[in-house]
Subunit: 462 residues, 2 copies
């Protein structure tokens, strides 16, 4: 489905009445910056030609926009911070691009340890607002330009999800606008809520296909008084990964357990004009430990070091200054950026955590079979691996074949094709590898309930 241009220009006129002329933008050069996310260029879908960008200032305005679009059956594509990796926000059909950037207020409720954030506020805004109230928003799903609405719509994960989980665990309430224009409030500042079907849980991770998220209640934590980052180099991957289940069984729950390989992490440092802190050991773990007492953090570090050493760690670097730890996180967060120009696709397959080593070994075999480079690193504590298919794979047919082999390797180990990035506009054709026909059929039926005219982020698989 697309829409005819006549309908789009009538709707654009209506939207100008609703929002005022300044918030309805038709000039392509002003829209251009809203049409792409971080999906690698070789597989990035091409945005449609005829688009109108709107920037509402309130939930009421979002409701009027959707009501109008629904009336004329004009597609609406919600964009957040455009940091996604599966083209989820790229508008593939003529229609309306909806940016919530003006709706970016954050209130902190110190007594209930919660934030109420509008969807257009960024991750960076939330981190800073929490901090200035003496509180802490633990997860760190990469780019801090991501917006709250997008983080929730994609159920973002990232590093620092080992201890308190992914975005879903933090969302306690949502204000959303349905494609038909109704405003719906689900949940609240509530830690327990069993009042009817939990539509909020359905909205989280539905990639903006069921509703536009306009506001969220987000659980915060007390600020960790102490935080330490360990870098632990090993000569072998199996030693590094073998240490992880033992750490998790010891009772120490780190904020993050990341697995990186020396070559890629050094490259990320270089990309930023920095040096990586530990230049030995093929396989490295980056482990973040926090706590309320210094002795507790130290003792957890001792326990983790002891376990790593019993798995042949070369040594343990301890970073305890905030500056040094931020530098480590920044270098880690730039691993993709550093190689992006050579990347054809970045995958985020996920397996039961203890099977991560098996998955990586299989990926090595796939790399050898096709004689290509498949750099991999990831959130090892969560069993979530980023594997990159690089330009050396050659043709897109070969890329497709390699991708499919990696997907099947994950699925055979009890895993799935995407643990973080979601389906977006590029993984729909692979969904049937991981989900049954009935599952996909139920998804389609649910989509139709919420969005009878299929106007909101239309997807080819829904």
């Amino acid at each position: 489905m697309g829409c005819n241009y006549a309908a789009l220009s009538i709707v654009a006129g209506r939207l100008m009445e609703i929002l005022g002329r300044e918030w309805v933008i038709s000039e392509r050069d002003l829209i251009e910056g809203y049409l792409y996310d971080e999906t690698p260029e070789p597989i990035r879908p091409k945005p449609a030609e005829h688009l109108v960008l709107v920037k509402p200032g309130s939930t009421k305005e979002v409701s009027l926009i959707l009501r109008t679009a629904n009336e004329y059956k004009v597609p609406v594509f919600t964009v957040g911070g455009r940091t996604g990796l599966v083209g989820g926000c790229i508008p593939l059909k003529p229609g309306i691009v909806l940016s919530l950037e003006r709706m970016n207020k954050i209130e902190i409720d110190k007594m209930n340890l919660m934030a109420v954030a509008e969807a257009g506020a960024t991750l960076s805004d939330l981190i800073r607002a929490a901090e200035s109230a003496g509180l802490f928003f633990p997860p760190h799903p990469g780019d801090e330009g991501a917006q709250i609405g997008g983080l929730i719509a994609t159920n973002a994960g990232g590093v620092r999800a080992v201890k308190y989980g992914v975005m879903r665990n933090y969302v306690k309430g949502l204000e959303v606008v349905l494609p038909t224009g109704e405003i719906l409030n689900v949940g609240g500042k509530l830690l327990k809520n069993n009042t009817g079907y939990d539509l909020m849980q359905l909205f989280i991770g539905s990639e903006g296909t069921l509703c536009v998220i306009t506001k969220a209640v987000i659980k915060l934590f007390p600020k960790s008084r102490y935080m330490v980052t360990l870098i632990v180099p090993f000569n072998s991957r199996s030693d590094a990964l073998g240490a992880i289940p033992e750490i998790l069984k010891s009772g120490v729950i780190p904020l993050a357990i990341e697995y990186v390989q020396l070559r890629e992490i050094m490259r990320a440092a270089e990309h930023l004009g920095e040096r990586w802190l530990v230049e030995e050991g093929f396989a490295q773990l980056i482990i973040i430990i926090d706590g309320v007492r210094w002795e507790e953090v130290l003792s957890a570090c001792d326990e983790v070091s002891r376990i790593c050493e019993s798995h042949n760690a070369i040594n343990v670097l301890v970073a305890d200054s905030p500056r040094e730890q931020n530098r480590i996180l920044k270098i880690r967060s730039n691993m993709y950026t550093a190689i992006k120009h050579e990347v054809v696709d970045i995958l985020d397959v996920t397996v039961p955590p203890a099977h991560l080593g098996d998955l990586m070994d299989t990926i090595d075999k796939i790399a050898a079979k096709y004689n290509v480079n498949l750099p991999a690193y990831g959130h090892a504590g969560d069993g979530n691996l980023h594997v990159h298919i690089m330009r050396d794979a050659g043709s897109m047919d070969l890329v497709e074949e390699i991708r499919r082999e990696i997907y099947m390797a994950a699925i055979r180990l009890g895993g799935t094709i995407t643990g973080e990035h979601g389906v977006g506009n590029i993984r729909g054709k692979s969904l049937s590898l991981a989900l049954s026909e009935k599952h996909i059929e139920l998804m389609r039926s649910i989509k139709r309930i919420f969005d009878p005219n299929n106007i909101l982020n239309p997807r080819e698989y829904l």
Copy 2:
């Protein structure tokens, strides 16, 4: 909808072919024990007359039962451990009562820190299986006879949900059978999964109206090496409740923070033929703290004691032997049982945690207004309060009026009518107080997708 008795007897015959005669039971006296849960007698709905009880031994058999029932449009009522408080499992129409008690296997995956449990295994089975593998299943939603399927279908909460959350946070994968007979697997041993709409999250808490849960992957934690229970008496409720946000902001995250009043907890002890440990202080907090190091637990206890003392705690009792702590938990878990014969309804209203004091003050005013006793205690760290309407309320009209006032008090404070027990067969008529008409309409549409013939746990509000 009901079903005609001819259809039911044809189906009973078919079920005997599927399951064998011994697992299809028509004798009323053998069925009687499956027809009630823990809902107080005055508001407990009356089960239907014509019922057949079936006890399948496998998921395949569950699928055949549902397929057959769907073909003949015969209602199916799934029962678990029958520990619910809202009549959710009581079969109100002629049909099939489905008990999964024979499907009760539990496997522990030590490397991934997960259990794979069949739906008919009990909470007690799970606790023991985890323990014998050196692991820990933290939440404790009351009665240990509850079954895994029911715990998930009702998204059970209970004590010990402050640190790691309610049942939803533990469920990582489900095997379910749809009312139309298809077997669906959602999730897995996965800590991150963004592959399509998360139907698993929709099933959790949907009270068995969308599917029959047959198996679940449940996240476990390392066994806390040390656990301490504090009982802290205060002379005033506002002092006791005022300490809670400060504890939570201190960075100490207890497993549980319970609020009880002296009279009711002493009565529970007496009911068990025991004595309560602290016989002073009108308002008491029961706080459970666990950790991997003894020093860490001690220091958390110190911090909590310091905060409580600064809120005028009378003193702090520290219980550190497992025997004594189990005794405390057992007395706490029997508060409802001890007064059950006088209870007309047990509510589980929930508000933002910091507003619990306001809610309790309002409930006191309601009690004074109607000149009744409204004993209350609850999971204070979660803002979840159990308020009991007693026989002294008199007529059911008055019970209804008082209940509605309590619901409205919670809603005005940003809360909801049920944080734990769910809607079941008795709260449907109150749903519209908490949910918008559109929300309920969406629930109905979702129900129709999964269960086109409305055979599975039919509800009057769906």
